[in-house]
Amino acid sequence: MAQQLLNAIFIGSIYALFAVGYTLVFGILDVLNLAHSAVFMLGAVITYSLVVIHAQPFFVAAAGGILASAVLGLVVEYAALRPLRRRQAPQISALISTIGLALIFVSIVEQSKPGSPFAWLWRDGANSVRFPADRVPNATYHVAGLTLESSKVAILVISILLMLSLGYVMRYTQVGRALRAVAENPRAARLLGIQVDRIFALTLALSSALGGLAGILFGVALSDVSPYIGRDQVELKGLAVIVLGGMGSIPGAVLGGYALGLIEAIAFIRFGSNVEAGVAFLALFLMLVVRPQGLFGARLRERL
């Protein structure tokens, strides 16, 4: 049971880290960035490619992966969001354009023809690769009958540290205040001299860096890097998490992530995998019906 609890906490950390990026964009731009799952995937794929194809040490590669993810966040902002905002297009257009961008990202990675940038993913004939064990530090410890992998412990520590520091930045720094002001009322923020477009770009970069990091940790801890990890594993669950926690709420996304990990584990242990697969969406559904503002969304106006 204790081991299962640990499993739940580890996967919960990944959900949380992914969902924080999701919710950050929603809170500030009022847009659901559905390309977030593709950035998550690219974070893992780019890091893998730096480690295996370009022979970089893992930590250098991970830094590269996070940086690339941040840049991809800017691509989302400049290609999919900003032009629509300029035109004052309805919110739904932004949602759809991010879906389009996600499809483009995935299909770039999917190409298996020799010469395409990620053709090596398919070299083994399998469309899922795993980080070579000797290149990525992942020692396994056995403590009091429990199995602890350093990669999973790192996920836990990194997630908590990052989320705490994000909370600090949001609350106590100039940038954080600017972000919150924009979330509250972009027009008022602009009148106060805040460069709203720059804040939007910053948000996308920050959110995508977190998403990319979540992808890297996912790839290392679950031995699974493929074009589909974002779409299949975290996209909809991330959505469930932020609804669970309250749309736009960072603490809500964190606790929602852990809550979902736990709910899934309990559902698996008690009822088996059929129930586990559906439980995220059952939680999402119940939340929307019973408490649409989410566990931690006090009032919808006051975000972040």
């Binding site: 081991q3 299962q4 499993n7 739940a8 580890f10 996967i11 999917e110 298996s112 398919w122 083994d124 004939g125 399998a126 469309n127 899922s128 795993r130 064990a133 396994t140 056995h142 199995t147 992998e149 996912f218 679950l222 031995s223 699974d224 990890i229 299949d232 594993q233 899934e264 584990a265 698996f268 242990i269 088996g272 995998s273 059929n274 586990e276 697969a277």
Partner: protein, 404 residues
């Protein structure tokens, strides 16, 4: 009028003479049909999983089949006819597989088909081929109800469906028995992907075969093939402290399960099905897979002529070692070619040709990399079973040979 009758009689005599002549001289019949084959195109199709979960198997099947086509065409084709093989990717998806089959049969006008890669897709493709009266040879599907009852739960035998891949119903019990006879394990736990026909069928077979060999199943743990995080089901299995963990699943999943279970301190034996039998899985599992045992339809180091030549040619063409799926794909084309040779094809009436090919398939008898090859009267394969273990470095070693 009279001259008309005379012409008919003369014509009839010539005709009789021609027939008599050709059937009289030995081998003449073949030469005759050979001349009508010459320069023609023998259109075959294949539905394989080149992407998606089945992509650990499909590309090998394709390579094997392509190699056979190339070799046959180089050495004069099928009585002079050139084989063309149109391979369609089904993306490991049942609906796409059925679509591809329909396209090949109706637009491609193929006389015969190979595939599909996954049993899950065969459920859709085989009844379709049966319906459209097109012979199909399964080259990697090993689930139950593939042949002869492709329309399961209907039990009437399908006339157009054949398979050259060793079924799990024969392979898994043979594998369990081989281990039980040697190390006498007492307890086992089963990890089964519930949402995939191949895996679920394998699970059912284990549930019957384990107790029959004195192994008590402590638990049967289901998971979804879409789960990336397998730590929950693996933890559940390891905590039962079984002597053996049975894994019936495919793609990269068996490797992930073995890695996770070893991390959690499991030191017992892994037993699996056909999902183990590819170098990709052995390589992905690495050290965690060492000793994982399965029953295979083929073994790389068999040194009878047809296998040795196949292995050498494959390595030369693709720069890597073949696996079981490559051998079965290769054999699939050899089977088609052998049947086509004897089928007296017209190359103008496709539906007649399909029927002729189907009839000729029943009496195929060739030497293949799998060993001497024949179909049973149920259109299934009858062959030797090779018990193999992963060697921890991406290959396999032979532990036992069970005559078919």
């Amino acid at each position: 009028m009279r001259s008309g009758i005379r012409a008919l009689v003369v014509g009839a005599i010539f005709l009789l003479a021609a027939c008599g002549g050709s059937s009289g001289s030995s081998g003449g019949g073949q030469a005759d049909s050979g001349s009508s084959y010459k320069g023609k195109e023998l259109k075959l199709g294949a539905i394989l999983s080149l992407t998606g979960a089945g992509a650990v198997y499909g590309p090998s099947s394709k390579n094997g089949a392509d190699l056979a086509v190339e070799q046959i065409n180089k050495s004069g084709g099928v009585n002079g006819a050139t084989i063309t093989l149109d391979t369609q990717d089904d993306a490991s998806d049942k609906a796409q597989a059925a679509q591809a089959a329909q396209k090949l049969i109706q637009q491609g006008q193929v006389v015969g088909l190979l595939g599909p890669t996954l049993s899950n897709s065969a459920v859709a493709v085989h009844p379709l081929a049966e319906n459209l009266r097109t012979p199909i040879v399964a080259v990697s599907t090993t689930g139950i109800h593939i042949v002869p009852d492709c329309n399961y739960p209907k039990t009437d035998p399908c006339k157009y469906v054949f398979r050259d891949s060793l079924g799990e119903e024969a392979a898994i019990p043979a594998n369990i028995k081989a281990l039980a006879d040697k190390t006498h394990p007492k307890t086992g736990a089963l990890l089964v992907a519930k949402d995939d026909k191949f895996s679920a069928d394998g699970g059912e077979i284990v549930k019957k075969a384990a107790p029959a060999n004195g192994i008590q199943l402590l638990g049967s743990i289901e998971f979804s093939k879409a789960d990336a995080d397998l730590s929950l089901p693996v933890t559940k299995a390891v905590q039962l402290k079984p002597d053996v963990i049975f894994i019936t699943s495919l793609g990269g999943i068996p490797a992930k399960i073995m890695i996770e279970a070893r991390k959690q301190g499991f030191t017992g034996q892994f037993l699996g099905g056909n999902g183990f039998n590819t170098a990709v899985v052995s390589k992905q599992a690495g050290d965690a897979g060492r000793g994982a045992q399965s029953a295979s339809a083929w073994f790389t180091a068999n040194d009878f002529k047809s296998n040795k030549e196949f292995v050498t040619a494959y390595k030369t063409k693709f720069g890597q070692a073949p696996d079981q799926f490559a051998a079965q794909g290769y054999t699939g084309v050899l089977i088609m070619a052998d049947a086509a040779k004897r089928a007296k094809l017209s190359f103008s009436n496709v539906s007649q040709d399909r029927d002729n090919l189907r009839n000729a398939l029943e009496s195929v008898k060739i030497d293949s990399p799998l060993g001497p090859f024949q179909f049973t009267k149920n259109h299934d394969v009858k062959q030797t079973i090779w018990i193999i273990q992963m060697d921890g470095t991406g290959g396999f070693k032979l532990v036992q040979k069970i005559a078919g």
